[in-house]
């Protein structure tokens, strides 16, 4: 009940921020792109890419665009949620109540994840709707691919919470985006079949892929599901699940540990 009380306030606070609507509108552009924006003809070396493949490209761009902006939204909200309460003095009046600091963090984190997931869900359903309008069919691939991305959002939100306790809150989402982009980049040679032919990852890339949070692998899983490919051919699901579990635990415990020692 206490965590939910904080979550309700957090939801109101998030929904009052213009950035939520701004990012929703930007993401919406990517949905309209998937609706049937004709990208024209694409010629490869020896063949002309067909309509289905072109639609796949549109879908891919839309999917990655929506996920990227949802990640951005999650990062922006997460970077403010905890630190602004501390700076503005809201946290001290709340924590004077019988409420543990871990419960406080959970209550501040939940609205961030709920709002960014809601953003992703609404856009995902719009995506489904336009797909239905275009093809007359319903596929579970789209909601499933977006579902995988909610894991990414939760992990990302927690990471930004943690970072915002160590670096200025404006820089936390930027730092988060850098980690996210490097993670995506280091996943490419492992997940994209065409790249595997001519890119053998160096030791550094291998290490980055192994050690960074697997945002990239999650995104590749989502994209594979969306395009109707086998998502776990290229990516080891146990390694991804293990990586996420470890990082969620690390970010959570570090955030709680630091916040418990923070004087208000």
């Amino acid at each position: 009940m206490k965590i939910w009380a904080l979550t309700k306030i957090g939801l109101k606070e998030c929904l009052r921020q213009r950035v939520v609507y701004f990012i929703f509108l930007i993401s919406l552009l990517f949905v309209f792109m998937a609706k049937g924006c004709d990208i024209g003809t694409i010629k490869s070396e020896n063949l002309l890419i067909g309509k289905e493949a072109r639609q796949g490209i549109s879908f891919g761009i839309s999917f990655h665009g929506i996920v990227f902006w949802s990640i951005m939204l999650c990062g922006l909200l997460a970077s403010q949620a905890l630190t602004r309460d501390m700076d503005e003095g809201y946290a001290s009046a709340t924590l004077a109540r019988p409420l543990g600091r871990d419960a406080y963090i959970a209550g501040k984190l939940l609205p961030v994840i709920i709002i960014s997931t809601l953003n992703l869900t609404v856009l995902g359903w719009l995506f489904c709707w336009f797909f239905y309008r275009a093809t007359g069919g319903i596929t579970m691939q789209i909601p499933l691919s977006f579902f995988f991305m909610t894991l990414s959002l939760a992990l990302y939100g927690l990471m930004i919470f943690c970072l915002s306790l160590f670096i200025p809150r404006q820089l936390a989402p930027l730092a988060g985006i850098v980690v996210y982009m490097i993670s995506c980049w280091s996943s490419l040679p492992y997940s994209v079949e065409n790249l595997k032919i001519f890119w053998t990852p160096s030791v550094t890339v291998q290490r980055l892929h192994l050690l960074l949070p697997k945002f990239g692998d999650l995104q590749c899983i989502g994209a594979s599901i969306l395009s109707g490919q086998q998502p776990f051919d290229a990516v080891n699901p146990l390694a991804v699940a293990g990586n996420i579990a470890v990082y969620v635990s690390v970010f959570w415990y570090v955030t709680v540990w630091v916040f418990k020692r923070r004087e208000l």
């Binding site: 009940m1 206490k2 939910w4 009380a5 904080l6 309700k8 306030i9 109101k12 606070e13 009052r16 503005e88 003095g89 809201y90 001290s92 009046a93 709340t94 924590l95 004077a96 109540r97 019988p98 409420l99 543990g100 020692r261 004087e263 208000l264």
Partner: protein, 311 residues
């Protein structure tokens, strides 16, 4: 006996700065305890340690026997921070509901709890008003209402009179006394010395992180009791003679003398010394030091480094 607040050898350091230096104090159940001190004395730091918002460098604090680091200790506390900061987009009612939920008041009792506090602070007519639009005084009333939610056993008020008008002052005083009559312990951190003097049972004066005086209101007044003499023709030789049975040097202000005698009987001697040496006594009366005067004297003496009068 279990105390409401029990601090033992409490020290708080911020780097090389000592904010609290070996604070030991007990606040009895059901009393109104005044905590006074100039700016930067460490009052707010002490309150924050009680609420576990700040960690003590060493020492311990217990609330009704429970260490402050336990969440359970805060179940009994209502807290009004100095310059309360509240989410401006909430209405007063939403804000109070939020705090009811944080306290853990059962959902069926929340409305009654809110109504009682709104009624006590005369906020019923503005219950739907957004906090961001409230005046400072109204915000302070909202903060007090929030602190009173759930009938806490211990109320900690940090500058409760801040922003209140004279009517608000009087109502707050009445409220504090009502709460006390119901058995609530009140810890009052305030600069309003007259308010503290009128409402508190016991007072502690803090300066530079140390308690320089602690005692009941009457006890503190008695200690400051002095003989005020208005005399003409007062000389240094008279002062030397009187100082022999005075606690400390005579304070003079024009033809007014302030003498801290060890015994009330010596007032006759003071009169005799002045008259025999050719002076003329116009008036002679016992005066008690007001809390404000005592506070000023103690803090000034402490700052000048010759306070021999420790608790």
């Amino acid at each position: 006996m279990q105390f409401a607040i029990e601090a033992h050898s409490l020290v708080k350091k911020y780097g090389s700065i000592t904010a609290l230096d070996d604070i030991t104090l007990e606040v009895n159940r059901g009393e109104i305890f005044g905590f006074l001190g100039p700016n930067g004395a460490g009052k707010s730091t002490f309150v924050k340690i009680i609420l576990n918002l700040v960690r003590a460098t060493s020492g311990s604090v217990r609330i009704f026997g429970e260490p402050v680091t336990n969440v359970k200790a805060r179940e009994t506390i209502g807290f009004l921070p100095e310059n309360i900061r509240v989410y401006p987009f909430l209405s007063i009612e939403e804000f109070l509901r939020f705090h009811c939920e944080l306290i853990g008041i059962a959902s069926q009792n929340i409305k009654m709890a809110i109504d009682n506090c709104l009624c006590a602070m005369e906020l019923e007519s503005v219950r739907a008003q957004k906090i961001g639009t409230l005046s400072k005084g109204m915000l302070q009333r909202t903060g007090i209402a929030q602190a009173m939610l759930g009938n806490p056993e211990l109320l900690i008020f940090d500058e409760p009179t801040s922003g209140l008008d004279p009517i608000g002052f009087t109502e707050l005083r009445r409220l504090l006394l009502d709460m006390k009559a119901r058995g609530t312990t009140i810890f009052l951190n305030s600069h309003q010395l007259s308010e503290v003097e009128r409402t508190c049972d016991r007072v502690a004066i803090l300066n530079k992180g140390r308690i320089i005086k602690i005692g009941s209101r009457d006890d503190l007044s008695d200690r400051g009791k002095h003989l005020e003499v208005t005399a003409e023709g007062f000389t240094d030789s008279m002062a030397a003679a009187i100082n022999a049975f005075s606690q400390k040097n005579i304070e003079t202000e024009g033809n007014k003398l302030r003498i801290y005698l060890t015994s009330e009987k010596d007032s006759v001697n003071v009169h005799r010394i002045i008259v025999e040496a050719g002076g003329r006594v116009q008036s002679l009366a016992w005066k008690s030091e007001s809390l404000e005067e005592l506070f000023y004297r103690l803090v000034k003496n402490e700052d000048m480094g010759f306070n021999k009068d420790r608790p």
